[in-house]
Symmetry: C2
Subunit: 321 residues, 2 copies
């Protein structure tokens, strides 16, 4: 995003406010807790969820200034995201995130479990401070969906019969639901119409799905190494993702071979198979399709600088890496 | 508690309602999630937190029938408790709870991390359904306190300089705060006076401290084996508890020996030392002192059948095991 345009400057300024809301909220009377939270620095990323929340709010709101409640909601969704990252790293036995050490590798699994819980709880507490029952309800629903998605994914490990519908449901629940809820919260707090709220929520859902599919492709291709995460983790953990599933739907006779490859976590053999069957390019096509759907859905209902920024963000997912 | 008295019958009936609220709430559209929640059966205990919430409510309320909101709040605090048990078992590397297999030993640490998150999130969602902002705020505050307590405890492992004040703060935060909040929620929902709410909250806090101190003593004595939990876990995990701390405060020269004993997790040597210095009986005295304080505090402000039941519950903690 061009941070020199008026909307880019506005967004950068708002994200600074959100960061401040978060860091103020994470200050604890016990210095040990504040110190452990300090280790989260490596987990701070592009703040995608606060960004779409803020832009969704701005795309429907007639307010000149951003209410405190909106910045709080943006901090809340980012805290939930941070909590899932900390716990995901335990599940993935990951040592590195964005090139820095993960909490579990730095402080042990026990501290990582508790820190994730503390972040989850802090998100709920922060949300409760604005005393908006609808916001609390929406947050509770989306975190339940997130956790259920992770539980279903765990139960389907190494399952070469995982069908497309189940895969889409899993990535919707574990990833897209929070991005969708971020858009929905922004639109709701901006007092958008029912139609606007629905369009922005669906935008978030499609973008979230596209985002997860792309992440899954990059993990298979080993290109995640570029962004500081170890690649091939899904294969190690027995997670079947879109390219493998479409390949097996198109070529059921490959199931046995894929099972063997997954058992040995043989990345090169899998990569060759995926490329030769066209499964990788078909998965990239799915990313494009979802991004286009996201953009069309919003353009039908809203058209202003903020909605254009949302669409520009979505378009970035179509670039090759 | 005598379950044949009118109040005993009332309580048993209310706890059935609370169990129903919880099991209904944990039904998930994904059968995998409902199945994993089914494994929680072994975690269902005496429902201490819903019990004190219900009795606190009844001790101040003039309502004839129990409002749905009260049963929901009772389910919420029990869900939070279940979440902490599931995550505690990961931290403690425990295989058994009440004689049955723990979630982590049954389904692995990953499923246990996610199930704990799901329970935590479900508690917040359930709480949000009654749309009472004060209740949400209270819940967010107490879960933050709980997690912070666990984080502080983790950071003080194997620290023979842990002082009494810090120990009391840790057990207040990680255990007593939720029991105190349960009493407070009950009293608040029953529209108790400020004085009544304060007295019941302090009752819960003292009872919670006494409960944790007793649990810590039983772990050191190896008597937890009786109730189906492995004993000596605190020693294995480097957790210093009241008997050890008071012994070291009274006999600082023993620090080196205790450090050695903890390094070898030599339970018999520690037990002999604790008995010979009188540290065990002095810790039991502290349990009695706290129970008495809890009872006095309530009796000063409220006196009816419900408050008497609360005091009777507290008295049970003074029995030797």
């Amino acid at each position: 995003m061009d941070m020199t345009t008026p909307i880019g400057i506005w967004l950068a300024n708002e994200l600074d406010h959100v960061s401040l809301v978060m860091s103020d909220h994470l200050k604890n009377e016990h210095k040990e807790v504040t110190a452990i939270c300090g280790e989260l620095a490596a987990y701070r990323g592009k703040m995608l969820r606060p960004t779409v929340l803020l832009l969704s709010w701005r795309s429907v709101s007639s307010c000149e200034t951003t209410p405190h409640e909106v910045r709080v909601a943006a901090g809340v969704v980012e805290l939930i995201h941070l909590a899932t990252l900390v716990h995901d790293d335990i599940l993935d036995e990951a040592d590195l995130r964005r090139g820095a050490q993960t909490i579990n590798s730095l402080l042990g699994n026990e501290a990582a479990v508790m820190l994730g819980d503390y972040l989850l709880s802090s998100a709920f507490l922060l949300c409760s401070t604005v005393k908006n029952p609808e916001l609390n309800l929406l947050l509770g629903e989306v975190t339940n969906t997130l956790c259920a998605g992770e539980l279903v994914q765990l139960s389907r490990r190494n399952d070469v019969d995982l069908d497309l519908e189940s895969y889409f449901q899993i990535i919707h629940d574990k990833t897209a639901s929070l991005i969708a809820a971020s858009c929905e919260m922004g639109a709701m707090l901006g007092k958008g119409s029912g139609c606007e709220i629905k369009a922005l929520k669906e935008f978030g859902s499609s973008v979230g799905m596209a985002f997860q599919i792309k992440d899954d492709i990059l993990d298979l291709l080993g290109e995640r190494e570029i962004i500081g995460k170890p690649a091939g983790r899904d294969l190690d953990k027995g997670k079947l993702t879109l390219p493998i599933i479409t390949m097996l739907v198109d070529n059921p006779s490959l199931k046995e071979e894929v099972q063997k490859i997954m058992g040995n976590a043989d990345r090169d053999a899998l990569s060759a198979l995926l490329h030769s069957t066209g499964a990788i390019s078909s998965a990239f096509d799915m990313v494009s399709k979802m991004v286009n759907a996201a953009i069309c859905g919003v353009e039908e209902v809203i058209e202003n600088e903020s909605s254009k920024q949302l669409c520009a963000l979505a378009k970035q997912l179509k670039s090759s890496v």
